[in-house]
C-alpha cells in the first residue's frame, strides 16, 4: 500500500529538481517556473500529511486544507507579480539572461 514515505520522497525529489533548475538555468522565466515547482513540492508534502493525520472526527483536518488553499492563492499572486517584473525587465534590457542582470553590483 502507499506509504507516507513514498509521497515524501516524491515531494523531496520534486523540490530538488526545482532547486537544480534555479541553480542551472539562466533564463529568468524558467527560473520562475522552477520556483513554482518548489512550491508545488511543498504543497504535495502538506497534502500527504493532511491525509496522514486524521482529527477527532476521523476525517482529514479541514484547517490544513484551507492552509493549502491559501498557499495556492498566494503562489498565484506571486507568479503574476513576478511575471510583471519580468516584463518590465525585458522592456528595459531586451534580454532575460541572468548574467546580464547585475546592476545591483557593488562595483
Amino acid at each position: 500500500m502507499t506509504s507516507l514515505n513514498v509521497l515524501l520522497l516524491f515531494a523531496a525529489l520534486l523540490f530538488c529538481v526545482g532547486l537544480l533548475g534555479i541553480l542551472i538555468r539562466r533564463s529568468l522565466i524558467v527560473i520562475l517556473m522552477c520556483l513554482e515547482l518548489m512550491l508545488a513540492a511543498a504543497m504535495l508534502n502538506l497534502v500527504a500529511f493532511n491525509r496522514y493525520h486524521l482529527d477527532e472526527t476521523g476525517l482529514p483536518a479541514t484547517s490544513l486544507s484551507i492552509f493549502i488553499f491559501f498557499i495556492i492563492a498566494v503562489a498565484a499572486a506571486e507568479a503574476a507579480l513576478g511575471l510583471a517584473i519580468v516584463t518590465a525587465i525585458y522592456k528595459q534590457k531586451k534580454n532575460l539572461n541572468l548574467n546580464e542582470l547585475n546592476s545591483l553590483r557593488d562595483c
Partner: protein
C-alpha cells in the same frame, strides 16, 4: 674633622648640574669660578681625609638578589686617597688655567659643566669599592671625555674625534665587562676587599680562569689607556681644548686603566696576583705596552703639531706603565709611581703648551714658532723643567726616579723588554729635545709667534706649582706622603742606571745635531707622520665593512621588514580580504542562489546531523 667622603662625589656632581641648568646663560666667568671653587673644595676635603686617622666604612647596598650584592661604596685606602690628590690637584689647576684660556669661548658654561662631570666620574672610579661601581663610573668618564673632546663640535674634525674616542673606549669596555663577569665566576664577588679571601681556597679556579679574566680586564685598559691596537683615538683627542688634554689625556683618565689593574693586583694580594700576572695574559699585557711605547715614540718624532707630540709622548709613557704592570706586583708599584710623577709633569707640559698656543694666537705648528724662550721666559722655564722630567734626567727630576724603578723591574723580569724600554727612553729624549729646541731656541719663524708675550698670571701659577712638583715629587720624602704605592728605592749606580743614562745622552746628542738652528723639518718621515697608517687601516678594513653591514641590517629591518612586510603587508592583506569578500556582492543572481542553497544545505546539516 669628620668630613663626609660622599661630598667628594656630590660636590662635583652638583657643580656640574648647577652650571648646566642655571648658569649656562650667564657670563663664562661665573661658571668658571663656580667650577674652580668646587674643585678647590674637593681638594681640601681630600687633604683633610689624608690627614685623618680613622675612616669609617661608606657603603650602601643598591641591588640584592640572593647572594649577588651590588653596592655603591667608597674604598678609602691610602692608594685611593693619594690618587684623589692627583685628581683633585690637577683638576683645580686646570680649572684655574681654564679661567683665562676659555674666557672668550661662548659655550664656556658647557665646558665647565662637563669638566665638573668629569671630576665626579673620575672620583667615582678612584674611590669605587667594587667592580660594578667602577664600571659605571668608567662609562661616565668616557661620556665626559666625549663631551670635552667634542666641545667645539661644530668643527667636523672635533666631532669625529669625540666619536672615535667614545667608540674605541666602548670596544674596550665590552671586553672589560666580560672580564668583570669572569671575576664573578672565578671569585663569587665583585668587591675588591673580598677578592683575596674568596680566592684563597680556589686554586683550581685561579688556574683555569685567572689568565683569561686578566686578559679581559685588560681590554678596559686597552680602550681607556689607549694601548695598541686601540691607540688611535688619543692623537685625535687633541681636538679638544688644551686644558682638557692636560687633565684628561695626560694625568687622569688615561691613567684609569693602570689604576684599575693596580687595584686588581692590590685586592688579590701579593701571592695570587703573582700567580695570575705571571701567565700568558701578563706577558701579553707587557708586550702590548712595549709595542705601544715604541710605536708612539716613533710617531712622536715626526709630528709638527705641539699637542700631537705631547699626545704621542703620553701614549709612550702609558706604554711604559702597562709594560711594567704586566710583569707582576713589583711592576704594578713601579707603574703607579710613574703614573704619579707622569701626571704632574705631563699636566705641566700640556698647560705650558696651552699657554704657548694662547699667546701665539692659537698657532699649534712648532715650525711656525721659535725663539719663545726670550719672549715668554717663565713659561719657557716651566716647560723646560717638564721636558726634563719627561726625559728622565737623572736625580734632578722626578721622572727619573719612577722610570728607574720601572727599568729595574723590567730588567729583572724580561731582558727583551728591557732593551725595548731603553730604546724608547732614547727616543723620548730625542723628540722632547726636538720640541724644546724648535719652539724655544733660535728666532721666531712666523708672525704669529713674533709678538708673543708672557702668559697671564692665572696661567703662570699652575705652571709654577706643577714645575716645582715635577722636580720634587720623585724625592723619597715627598713621595712617601704624596705617592700612591711608593716603595723606598735608593738610586743605585748599577747596569740599569748606566744604560739609561747612556740612552739619554745618545738621544740628546742626536737631537742637538739634527735640530739645532734649523728653519724647517730636516727629516722626511711620512710613515711616522701618518702614525703608521693605523687610521687608514682601520677605516678601510674595519669601519667601512661594519658600516655597510649596519646599513644593510637597517635596510633589511626598516625597509623590508617593517615597511614592506608589516606595514604594507597588513595594508595589502586587508585589501586582499576586502577584495575577496567583495566577490559576494557582484550582483550576479545565480551566485546568490547558489549561496542560498549552499547555506541551506549547511544549515540542514548542522541542525539535523550534528
Amino acid at each position: 674633622m669628620n668630613l663626609n667622603p660622599w661630598l667628594l662625589l656630590l660636590i662635583p656632581l652638583l657643580s656640574s648640574l648647577t652650571i648646566w641648568w642655571l648658569l649656562s646663560a650667564t657670563k663664562s666667568a661665573v661658571a668658571a669660578w663656580f667650577s674652580t671653587v668646587s674643585s678647590v673644595a674637593c681638594l681640601l676635603i681630600v687633604i683633610g681625609l689624608n690627614q685623618a686617622e680613622e675612616l669609617g666604612a661608606y657603603a650602601f647596598n643598591w641591588i640584592e638578589i640572593d647572594n649577588l650584592v651590588l653596592s655603591i661604596g667608597l674604598m678609602l685606602d691610602s692608594t685611593a686617597l693619594k690618587m684623589m690628590l692627583i685628581v683633585t690637584g690637577i683638576g683645580t689647576l686646570v680649572n684655574l688655567f681654564s679661567t683665562i684660556y676659555m674666557a672668550k669661548d661662548e659655550h664656556a658654561a658647557r665646558y665647565y659643566a662637563s669638566l665638573s662631570l668629569f671630576l665626579f666620574s673620575m672620583t667615582g672610579i678612584v674611590l669605587a669599592d667594587n667592580f660594578i661601581m667602577m664600571f659605571i663610573f668608567w662609562e661616565l668618564v668616557g661620556l665626559s671625555s666625549y663631551l670635552l673632546i667634542g666641545h667645539w663640535f661644530t668643527k667636523d674634525s672635533a666631532a669625529n674625534a669625540a666619536k672615535k674616542a667614545f667608540l674605541m673606549n666602548r670596544i674596550g669596555d665590552f671586553g672589560f665587562l666580560i672580564g668583570i663577569l669572569l671575576v664573578w665566576v672565578m671569585a663569587g664577588t665583585f668587591h675588591f676587599d673580598q677578592l683575596a679571601t674568596m680566592l684563597q681556597d680556589k686554586p683550581a679556579q685561579i688556574a683555569s680562569l685567572g689568565a683569561i679574566t686578566l686578559a679581559c680586564l685588560f681590554c678596559g685598559a686597552l680602550g681607556k689607556s689607549a694601548q695598541f691596537p686601540l691607540h688611535t683615538w688619543l692623537a685625535d683627542a687633541m681636538e679638544g681644548p688644551t686644558p682638557v688634554s692636560a687633565l684628561i689625556h695626560a694625568a687622569t683618565m688615561v691613567a684609569a686603566g693602570i689604576y684599575m689593574l693596580f687595584r686588581f693586583q692590590l685586592s688579590l694580594g701579593h701571592d695570587i696576583a703573582e700567580m695570575i700576572f705571571h701567565t700568558w695574559a701578563g706577558t701579553m699585557i707587557a708586550y702590548l705596552g712595549a709595542a705601544t711605547a715604541v710605536i708612539a715614540a716613533l710617531c712622536a718624532l715626526a709630528q709638527s703639531d705641539i699637542k700631537k707630540i705631547l699626545a704621542y709622548s703620553t701614549l709612550s709613557q702609558l706604554g711604559y706603565m702597562v709594560m711594567a704592570i704586566g710583569l707582576g706586583f713589583k711592576g704594578g708599584e713601579a707603574a703607579m709611581f710613574h703614573l704619579y710623577t707622569h701626571a704632574w709633569f705631563k699636566a705641566l707640559l700640556f698647560l705650558g703648551a696651552g699657554a704657548i698656543i694662547y699667546r701665539c694666537h692659537h698657532q699649534q705648528d712648532i715650525w711656525k714658532m721659535g725663539g719663545l724662550a726670550k719672549r715668554m721666559p717663565i713659561t719657557a722655564l716651566c716647560f723646560i723643567i717638564g721636558s726634563a722630567a719627561l726625559m728622565a734626567i737623572p736625580i734632578v727630576t722626578s721622572g727619573s726616579y719612577s722610570k728607574e724603578q720601572i727599568l729595574e723591574v723590567v730588567h729583572h723580569e724580561n731582558i727583551i723588554l728591557f732593551w725595548v724600554a731603553i730604546f724608547v727612553a732614547s727616543l723620548t729624549v730625542f723628540y722632547t729635545l726636538r720640541l724644546v729646541i724648535v719652539v724655544f731656541s733660535g728666532f721666531s719663524r712666523n708672525d704669529d709667534s713674533s709678538d708673543a708675550k708672557e702668559a697671564p698670571i692665572a696661567m703662570l701659577v699652575p705652571l709654577i706649582i706643577l714645575a716645582v712638583l715635577a722636580i720634587i715629587s720623585g724625592l723619597p720624602k715627598i713621595a712617601k706622603i704624596l705617592a700612591p704605592a711608593y716603595h723606598e728605592h735608593p738610586i743605585v749606580f748599577n747596569f740599569v742606571f748606566i744604560s739609561s743614562t747612556i740612552a739619554i745622552l745618545i738621544g740628546a746628542i742626536a737631537a742637538f745635531i739634527i735640530y739645532k738652528g734649523k728653519q724647517r723639518e730636516p727629516l722626511y718621515l711620512p710613515v711616522l707622520k701618518k702614525a703608521f697608517g693605523f687610521d687608514f687601516l682601520y677605516e678601510v678594513f674595519l669601519v667601512r665593512w661594519i658600516q655597510r653591514f649596519m646599513a644593510g641590517l637597517c635596510q633589511v629591518i626598516d625597509q623590508f621588514l617593517i615597511s614592506a612586510v608589516i606595514v604594507n603587508g597588513l595594508a595589502r592583506l586587508t585589501a586582499y580580504i576586502g577584495q575577496g569578500l567583495r566577490q559576494m556582492h557582484r550582483g550576479q543572481l545565480a551566485l546568490y542562489h547558489l549561496l542560498l542553497s549552499a547555506g541551506m544545505v549547511v544549515l540542514i546539516y548542522l541542525f539535523v546531523f550534528a
